[in-house]
Symmetry: C2
Subunit: 724 residues, 2 copies
């Protein structure tokens, strides 16, 4: 047995620095908690569900040994958690309002978050069920959705292949139609599809839930119709495993792709199909059909209906933006609480008292802008999600209003979600890592909670549109705006997020834009309108520059593809500038709209401080964009920095309360550094006791290896040596 560390017991009181911080707050954190949850009732419900998980008598949801288990054991236990979770949901009636479908219940997301561990079944409800709902016809839905509801059918979404990512047109998996009565494989009633992975690069790779968990996959494959014509990619429901014993179906080989940098509870999988036969009607047939003769037909559906599935993709991106807020809220909770507890560096040469590290300006400058971003992203994700819901509702009504939704309107919200997804996940990924670094050495510990959170988060800059590719799509749409301004057709843009660009773009194109920032004093820089105008100007200028660069390159004889390629780097600047405007604008207006509803004047003051900090910080950080054409002058740039410092001072007393407002329980935070009670050091030391490397004394490497060196003398220098 290992000798146990005598830590002198665990304090029952809150760390005095942290307690002291809480007395300084000028606002009520509970009100902001309600704002995050959506309502006071929602806060109560969330806490109820969290308690249910935390106090579950099976204790399966305990996360305390997460860092000490082998990956395989983590995966298996996460499956156990999922089964128990469904059992709990059934017992308390989650899903009773949705015909038993728990994953469509509004409590589902809350209770899954309460588990605070990744479930290998995630893709079933995030992609598989929604895909059936949006792409399958009514009869198919009636057949499959009850099986999903009952968890007989567990599905995944199998798109990417080992050699093919976001270029969907490049996918190689094939689904070839075979008529009933044909000889050989695939002769089933009504016709069938033969699914194949014809090449090494066509092996499906990455789909979550595919490896070991699911028994069905929605496979994206090239449809070869009865005439042998390639009709492009479509969706096919392929059973991968037996519902009786989970054995692989004939012709299917699938498994886990191996450990990843993070998110290892999940069995991201591979699948190779060799002449796998599925019925004809397993093709998703809402928007296209193949009849039993193998004749392919695109269904005539309303323009609106086809837009709806497009909206679904954007909703996923807006969820990711909300996720970037949540992750930053977690990261800043850990780092700011720890920075209030941690002391380092004497107050003066003679003093024996050390500073709270939260008092160092550079620590504030590192953490408070991230705190502001976490809040900012919340307001933005909420706004975008509301806008998407509103559009969806108009489309569903199929009223005149729905029909008036223009391509421009859909394009603009596509640009918004793409720009925000790219910017926010980049900031969040870098930001939570910077929170970790801001905790010094202890942030390196698994028990700090950072490593698992960060490594799992790192998928976000890559999935659902790589952050380097999305800016291209943003700019493609915004260049349309420039063109419409040139031809005077700006009406459709007036209803969109991008409308702020119309005025300045037009002025610039006409050579009339000679604007500079009107701030005449340092204090004048601390003004939302001044900052908003700066962001507006910058976005418009960079956009017009890219338009001109491409135009000039083509005029000089470059091929359009080359001109486009040459402008890619600048496009990412445009997309960032567009995001920054939207983020700041929605932050400021979001606070205004909420004022007097869930939050009062005290909360509004501190939220406005955060908004100003956000606005100032990102000008300071990318000041070159504002200086280059003289919009800001050197003095104003210096004022921006000075004002940032002022905002840091203003936020300092509220910093701890602003992270407390997130109301992330210790159970969910899983962080020795971020504990609500601030007993950081006892928690760090207690965690090390659980380390399996300490289970025996001496350690497991001594007897067989180290002893050979220290006792047996393998390492002793004898003076007689041969040479290589």
């Amino acid at each position: 047995m290992a000798r146990n560390l005598p830590t002198g017991g665990y304090p029952l009181t809150t760390n005095s620095d942290l307690a002291n911080e809480r007395t300084k707050a000028t606002f009520d954190p509970n009100k902001i908690t309600n704002l995050f949850d959506g309502s006071p009732t929602a806060t109560i419900r969330r806490r109820q569900l969290e308690a249910l998980i935390r106090n579950d008598p099976t204790n399966i949801f305990c996360n305390e040994d997460n860092a000490y288990l082998h990956r395989t054991d983590r995966h298996v236990r996460a499956l156990a958690k999922h089964v128990r979770l469904i059992e709990l949901c059934r017992s308390i009636g989650i899903g009773s309002k949705t015909n038993g479908e728990v994953v469509l219940d509004e409590d589902w997301t809350t209770i899954v978050e309460a588990v605070a561990d990744d479930l290998p079944t995630y893709l079933h409800w995030v992609m598989f069920v929604p895909n059936i709902i949006s792409l399958c016809d009514e009869e198919q839905q009636k057949l499959w959705l009850p099986m999903c509801r009952d968890w007989r059918m567990i599905g995944c979404y199998a798109q990417t292949e080992v050699g093919h990512g976001s270029n969907v047109r490049g996918l190689e998996t094939t689904a070839t139609f075979v008529k009933e009565g044909s000889k050989g494989e695939g002769d089933i009633k009504g016709g069938s599809w033969i699914i194949n992975s014809p090449t090494l690069t066509s092996i499906k790779f990455w789909p979550g839930t595919l490896g070991r968990t699911c028994n069905h996959a929605m496979v994206i494959a090239k449809l070869i119709d009865g005439d042998g014509v390639d009709r492009g990619v479509h969706n096919f429901l392929v059973q991968t495993r037996s519902l009786q014993d989970h054995s692989l179906m004939p012709g299917v080989t699938c498994g886990d792709i191996g450990p990843k940098i993070g998110y290892n509870n999940m069995d991201n999988g591979f699948a190779k199909f060799e002449n796998v036969v599925i019925p004809r009607r397993n093709m998703a047939m809402r928007f296209a059909t193949v009849d039993d003769d193998g004749t392919y037909e695109k269904k005539t559906v309303s323009d609106a209906a086809s837009k709806i599935s497009y909206i679904t993709m954007m909703q996923v991106r807006s969820m990711i933006v909300m996720g970037s807020s949540k992750s930053l809220r977690m990261g800043t909770t850990m780092a700011i609480r720890y920075s209030a507890v941690r002391r380092q560096g004497f107050k003066s040469a003679d003093s024996k008292e050390e500073n709270q590290i939260l008092d160092y300006k550079q620590q504030q400058h590192r953490l408070f802008p991230l705190l502001a971003a976490a809040y900012c992203f919340f307001f933005n994700a909420r706004k975008v999600s509301e806008n998407l819901k509103a559009i969806e509702k108009r489309l569903m009504n199929l009223s005149d209003d729905g029909a008036t939704i223009t391509k421009t309107e859909v394009g603009s919200i596509h640009a918004t979600t793409s720009a925000l997804k790219s910017f926010c996940t980049t900031i969040a990924a870098d930001g939570i890592e910077d929170c970790r670094k801001a905790c010094g050495g202890h942030g390196f510990l698994q028990s700090s909670g950072f490593p698992e959170m960060i490594t799992a988060y790192l998928q976000n800059p890559t999935v659902e549109g790589d952050n380097q590719m999305l800016p291209m799509q943003v700019v493609k749409i915004l260049l349309k705006l420039v063109k419409d301004v040139q031809s005077g057709k700006t009406k459709d843009w007036e209803k969109t997020d991008a409308k702020y660009l119309l005025g300045p773009v037009e002025a610039m194109l006409n050579g009339k834009e000679e604007k500079s920032c009107p701030a005449a004093s340092k204090d004048a820089m601390m003004d939302a309108d001044v900052l908003r105008a700066a962001y507006q100007h910058r976005a418009a200028r960079l956009l017009v520059n890219v338009a001109q660069q491409i135009q000039n390159d083509v005029a000089e004889g470059k091929a359009f593809e080359d001109a486009w390629n040459g402008a890619l780097i600048q496009m990412s600047r445009v997309s960032r500038a567009h995001s920054a405007y939207l983020l700041f604008d929605n932050f400021v207006s979001g606070i205004q709209e909420e004022s007097g509803k869930m939050i009062g004047p005290n909360e509004v003051i501190v939220l406005n401080d955060l908004a100003l900090l956000f606005g100032l910080y990102w000008i300071e950080k990318e000041v070159g964009d504002f200086l280059e054409d003289g919009y800001l002058n050197a003095e104003q740039a210096a004022w921006t920095r000075a004002c940032t410092l002022i905002m840091l001072d203003r936020i300092r007393p509220n910093a701890v309360a602003l992270v407390d407002a997130n109301d992330i329980s210790d159970f969910r935070l899983k962080s020795a550094l971020g504990r609500y009670d601030g007993n950081v050091y006892p928690a760090i030391l207690e965690a090390s006791k659980k380390d399996p490397l300490n289970a025996t004394e001496p350690g497991p490497g001594y007897e067989k290896h180290l002893k050979r060196l220290i006792v047996d003398g393998v390492g002793v220098y004898t003076g007689t040596t041969s040479r290589l």
Copy 2:
């Protein structure tokens, strides 16, 4: 048994894209390999030692299952590797030129790198042995060094405590002198020390090798002498474990601190001391002594000797800078080779041929500046290390020359190493992660090689001076330069790295600096002298600004501490600007100096391309610093971006050859994406076969958990539910 993935076999040929890239190179990669190694002979020797490890008949050095083992098993196997490594070293005579001390042999670093896995004994040779050599007196060295050489004594360096990091003066561990003949514990001949951890926060925490591996620790503790006077921190050799059976010594509790984000072969440890008795002579006595009466005395040593131990610390930082080059060389090797193999996005709307992703400008803009940085850091680390060796030599000679080494000279090289350590490790940590992201989804795989490399690297921005703290030290020294310029005492600075600041700082202080960039055309921007002048100007301007800001704040009545705190954010800009100048300058001059020696004109051309790209890219990235005071105008800023694009084009054909020049074997690279033969997809698929989650069919979570859901019907909706 799991069904094995039929991958269609493993190609024996090199991927044709990669082969094609290699034909395009305009220079000889072998010459650059020799440059990195130091000489053609060194390349041969390195390859010999790598082959020895790779072909070792015990096969213990095989790294193929690294990602699949539990952390405890990794640690134990790494100990086995260490023992075998020493055995090998003995068998081929490594250490025979250094009296049997393998860790002082020049082959040692090479063979340890050849192992390509982290050894838990690392701190023994990096900190423990050097500490004995530099801080212990001759008699102590004679006693302890042979034990180290023979691996009977395995040591660590125990400084940080759970509540105390870089503020050494804040350490709480005590070493209290007890005279011979005193009653109770500690009554041993010649007097003794009682080592204690008096508080929870004083528990030693983090030292590598301390937890499970070492049997001795060099403990940093407050010395309480015979008169009860606190003499500040000193070093004490404390035996932690028995040499017979590795059991803990009386009063010592130590163990592993638990898993970390990375570097988990290492047993970073904790140690609590409760009245641990060690002999008086276990205090390191080169620079201070305590006699058997308990009388403390500082030894009068030459100024030079005390400077030498200071030099050692700087050498560690220069090693870290070299490490940042090596890590970036690894990261860019993986990402650039993969980007040559990976195809994505059709060449045009009609084309079925996809682009190599390396042809996208944004991918080049992401990777080539990192490639340039990897090369740049190499030249800089080498230069700094040579400078440090030269100073050390002058000090050791104790000649007149040695005596002329001024505080300014030592201070300046301290500023250089601090600034470079901070900048280079930040760029490398972000850069290797960006290389990973540039590989899209597959970079997320452990088999890509990125996750382990990155997570292990992440300690570097924190250790040996946190990257956020070092800039303060840099600026403290450079502010001295400003003061010396003001008082006209610049002679000592003329010999230093910082001499480039003298001219512009003086001009600025006298209000005579009205300089702007002389480039009159785009082509003129592609000039090392033009770029160097820009970096010079920026560093001087930012430095003078900080000096003035602090001066103004104090003049306006702020306390100096507050003025200093308020300037911290700007100090990091100054430090970065100082680094950037040095990096660019040493890169350009390093290439020149090497020309005609190990490299010829073809290599010089391509290295100069890299240097220009480095210079242009970092102006583009931080262009605000150059625009703010009008040094660059808007047109010049645009030229900088245009020139960066030109440099990307120039480097493109040599990109693969430039990473091949690193000559990192597949054994060391451990990357499915970075393989020399480019057979990326087979390698990824082969790796997934090793995943223990695929060992059985169905997976390990089915029988006990998933089956309850799918077969037993735990998840079935029955319509009868109770409510919470």
